[in-house]
């Protein structure tokens, strides 16, 4: 298992080595030591490998991830898994603002809390936050799912398109054009699948979640809605 100690190896060397990996690489399990809040750790990977990061990371960790599993044994700064395409990013601690922003695919799991704008402009990513999320989460969310086991801050799902939002705790307020919707059987199945892949198989009563989504009133400009834009 390759181990890269960022106290000794420049970050660019680590990322360049990860970027060179072919899809059939044998070096499938990497360990990164001493991240010390560095930015863009393990960003831009395009190979089916696992990277374990031993400590807290800074901005944009695992951004643009494709195929890889990135596990952070610590907390992450702003923009973790930003624009992720596929694969899995799992943060054991908390994450800062804009987690999973613009993500197109894959799974982001946060064991702690996410701060503001979690899943902003998400485009297909699945996000499971075991704690709470901050204000303006799922802002302009287009596709994908956001599952929150704790509470959501102000203006959840503001200007949302077709993403599915599931929150178990309280929602401080809903954003423009975001409404509560019934939890139909296919939503329950989706939620069950996401909780299972996030390692919470059978741990929670699906019925304790509430679903939120778009009222679809703001898709097209209508002068009656001018105050909501």
């Amino acid at each position: 298992m390759p181990t890269v100690d960022l106290a000794r190896t420049p970050l660019r060397e680590l990322n360049a080595a990860l970027h060179r990996l072919a899809p059939d690489t044998n070096e499938t399990h990497w360990q990164v030591l001493n991240p010390r809040g560095a930015h863009a750790v393990a960003a831009g990977i395009d190979a089916p490998i696992t990277v374990e990061i031993e400590g807290h990371v800074g901005y944009y960790c695992a951004g643009m991830n494709k195929h890889a599993t990135v596990l952070v044994h610590g907390s992450a700064g702003p923009g973790v898994a930003e624009n992720m395409m596929s694969g899995r990013v799992h943060v054991r601690g908390d994450v800062s603002q804009g987690a999973g922003a613009t993500g197109c695919g894959g799974l982001l799991v946060v064991d702690g809390n996410a701060s503001a704008r979690c899943g902003i402009s998400m485009k297909g990513i699945d996000i499971v936050v075991k704690g709470s999320v901050g204000h303006l989460s799922a802002f302009m969310a287009q596709a994908g799912t956001l599952v929150v086991l704790g509470d959501a801050g102000e203006a959840l799902g503001d200007s949302i398109y077709e993403a599915h939002l599931y929150v178990r705790g309280s929602v401080k307020s809903l954003g423009a054009d975001c409404i509560e919707k019934p939890l139909a059987e296919h939503h329950r199945a989706e939620l069950r699948r996401l909780l299972t892949v996030a390692g919470l198989d059978g741990a929670l009563d699906i019925g304790t979640f509430r679903r939120y989504g778009s009222a679809r009133r703001l898709y097209h400009f209508h002068v009656d809605n001018a105050g909501s834009y």
């Binding site: 809040g37 800074g58 907390s75 700064g77 702003p78 908390d94 800062s96 503001a116 901050g134 204000h135």
Partner: protein
Amino acid sequence: MCGIVGLFLKDQTLAPDLGGLLAGMLSTLCDRGPDSAGFAVYGAETPGCIKLTLRAPAGFDFAGLIGRLNGVAASPVQHAVHDTHAVVTLPAAREAVVRAELEGVPGINVVGAGRRMALFKEVGRPDRVATRFGLANMGGTHGIGHTRMATESAVTTDGAHPFTTGSDQCLVHNGSLSNHNAVRRALIRRGLAFRTENDSEVAAGYLTWRLREGASLEAAMQASLAALDGFYTFVIGTESGFGVLRDPIACKPAVMAETERWVAFGTEYRALVDLPGVDAARVWEPEPATVYQWERH
């Protein structure tokens, strides 16, 4: 951009290391603010005395000035020269006459005053600024610092943070305020004086006004949430207190860490990584529009 840091010690056995720890934090954030830097350190007080931090042009004859101040203060003035700044400690009763004397000295500015606070700021890369002033050798109970990427006003020493508008009070700011002109005018009418056109100085002035009116630091910070409009993360120092406040939208990054021995603030976690015991610290992001405050007892 801009970077801000703050360190408040709970365990006073760390006091001799305060400056060294703060210098490390500040240097890490050079890339967030390479234009200028500044810091305030709350050191030991001398009973009955006040500290004035003086700033002078490079090469200024501080020794000559101190001789002059000894005469005015009617007792020997303690002093420590740090590059372009000097901290002079004098009997509090003689502050007015010493200030009057300093007003007649060309090039001298009184940039900080208080029983415990010394304040330093200068244009240049933060790590070099910290070295020039000898920050690593300063001890104290708490301190705050700033690395500036100028956006709202020119790159000058006066435009560098921290800003102080009251005795033992100072503030560093990451962000920009949008209603600072109106608030400044209102505060001037209430008797506050401002040195610059800078938005952050207005935030410091607002807190000074509230504290002067009898508010606690916590209440003053709470009130500023309604009074100040814009983007901000503030870190605030008073003689015995340390505060952190973010705007309701939390535009600017912030991370905090706390152990049994200290509480620390950094714009990024990178700034905290050399603090003793940080690996076991509780690390969290301060909530928007929430007052965080610690007081030394």
